[in-house]
Symmetry: C2
Subunit: 356 residues, 2 copies
């Protein structure tokens, strides 16, 4: 087993490198989880719980407020980019951006800040890069929500050092049209269901997506066809057509409001919701969040993608994304992180948890 030494735990850059150099493609996180668990268990100011390959460590200082720092342990598959290599100020390799440089910051705070101004919780979890049903944070939010209790959460996903607040929700629906089969040589005896998709596409094309400001963050929605299909045979008038539509919605709508909106857009059509994930309000009105934005330099913006911050939202915990990685490099072969950005994010986090 890789041992994370005190020297490594004391330096966020060395710790990033050490975590990246333990292979941990999704569903193969036992080794990295063992290494992190062993490191946490050496820290007497923390209680540690392990559920599968997910760890939660907590201070119990009776501070009255609690902040959660969270990061996933897994990576997408290796793509000729393991282990890390460093050139000047840049560390290259799988996981450097998404998100072991962020996860390392959480572990570094856990190891080095023994007297934080609020109680701290740390979550290190598995299977974030695959289907949500396997996601360790998702599973814990259902089986042991008390372990995730906090007043505010920081998810150390790559944001290039900017605070990205909340997240949009996402919903997929299938819009189906129906008709009547006939031989295409006698098409007037049938009713063409594919032709009936025309107005569905026209409504999508004409759709004007909102830009919404929530707690000072601007979210831009989107309603888009992502798949289309239909057809029986080359000589048959088709009796069914469908469009799969993805709605990305701002945090001023919950899932029910999002569904009602989509049904209104496609009124007169058969609409079925196939999957949905909630939005998350930025929560920057909370003092813990506002203090964090200040510590991180005062700038913030809306997170446009969907991230695990929404899992905290479902538990009523405001959450932001904040990490040194570049989100544009996530899942890329040439994934890398700027070492100075690891250090500046580390400084911001430390200032936040240590400030009087």
């Amino acid at each position: 087993m890789t041992v994370l030494s005190e020297a490594v735990l004391a330096d966020p850059v060395e710790l990033t490198r050490a975590l990246c150099d333990i292979p941990s493609v999704s569903r193969d996180e036992a080794a990295i989880c063992d290494a992190v668990e062993a490191a946490l268990k050496r820290l007497e100011h923390l209680t540690v719980e392990r559920v599968g390959n997910t760890l939660v460590a907590r201070t119990e200082l009776g501070r009255g407020r609690r902040v959660m720092l969270a990061g996933h342990l897994d990576t997408v598959p290796v793509n000729d980019n393991f282990p890390t290599r460093t050139e000047g100020d840049v560390m290259w390799g799988l996981g450097t951006s998404d998100m072991k440089s962020g996860t390392a910051l959480a572990l570094w705070i856990a190891a080095t800040v023994k007297e934080p101004r609020f109680d701290l919780s740390f979550a290190f979890y598995d299977c974030e890069e695959i289907e949500a049903v396997h996601n360790g944070l998702n599973k814990l939010s259902k089986s042991r929500p008390e372990l995730l209790a906090a007043d505010f959460a920081i998810l150390l996903e790559p944001t290039y050092g900017l605070v990205e607040a909340g997240c949009q929700g996402t919903m997929r629906v299938r819009v189906t049209t129906r008709g009547k089969r006939a031989h295409s040589a006698r098409s007037w005896k049938g009713e063409n269901a594919i032709h009936r998709l025309g107005p569905v596409l026209e409504r999508l094309d004409a759709y004007e997506a909102r830009e919404v400001e929530v707690d000072g963050c601007v979210y831009r929605e989107g309603l888009n066809a992502v798949f289309i299909g239909g057809g029986v045979a080359g000589n048959v008038i088709p009796d069914e057509g469908w469009v799969d539509v993805n709605f990305r919605f701002a945090p001023d709508r919950d899932e029910a409001a999002a569904e009602a909106h989509v049904r209104e857009v496609f009124s007169g059509f058969d609409v079925e919701v196939s999957d949905t994930a909630p939005s998350c309000r930025p929560g920057l009105d909370r003092p813990e969040a506002a203090e964090f934005v200040a510590a991180a330099g005062g700038e913030f913006r809306a997170k446009l993608g969907w991230t695990d911050v929404a899992r905290f939202a479902t538990l009523g915990i405001p959450a932001v994304n904040f990490g040194p990685g570049d989100p544009n490099l996530a899942h890329k072969q040439d994934e890398r992180v700027e070492i100075p950005r690891i250090r500046s994010c580390a400084d911001a986090l430390r200032a936040y948890v240590e400030a009087p």
Copy 2:
């Protein structure tokens, strides 16, 4: 091997039953072809050529005009409807309608009319029910067109005893739209190719198909989507979408004119022709054709589907469909033929080829 006796050859109903009771699903026509070949070779007034499982028999009476009677030997797969059974005036079973009752009439004329008023040719061919590349008549029209030479052709496909003249052409095109991929959380960075299919479908829906009279037959065209597709992933703005469109066109358009029309309908879009089969003019202005219509009762109508008559058209031979089967029963489990209709069609054919 089934032997088609003189008694069977002398009765179109018995001959229909005998042909139906030899299994001959497409690509398994050797046995039926052997039986028909042996019967033809016993007839001294005919020359017989066999190419694969396709037979051509001809009189050589120096009549100056020649009429072709043609029928395919194969059927679609068995569907719990083999062998035949007869109830009262109805013969049930695979092939009774499509088209062994018609093929039997050609063989019956071959066996029983030794002094026709024109020279006669007979074609019995394989693989009509599967891809055109296997079709025996199609292959012969390319490899041995001289065997098919005639002034007029009657294809004994099911028409319920009506003369169905010519046929519509059929063309399939793919209309493709393109866009730009992006993550669906940032959809404004992409261009949705599926949304761009909207105007294609609108044009299809608004299309007003022509009804065209050619040589006294009315053809009704049709332009229809038969397949639609597109999409990359549930969270990606798609960069390609496509609609497969089937154009059924009247015999006043050849394939080039049909293609030009489709390109005009979809002007501004990327249109690619994927396959095409020619139309066939009814050719009822030819004396051989007019005489046949008169012999068959004077009524005729346009054939709306595509049939092998178009193979004769490409050789410059006018052709009609005429057979006792009901086209609505083709390929159905409850396929059947009315025995009186076999006899009335037989009478009409015989009157036509024997009239002074």
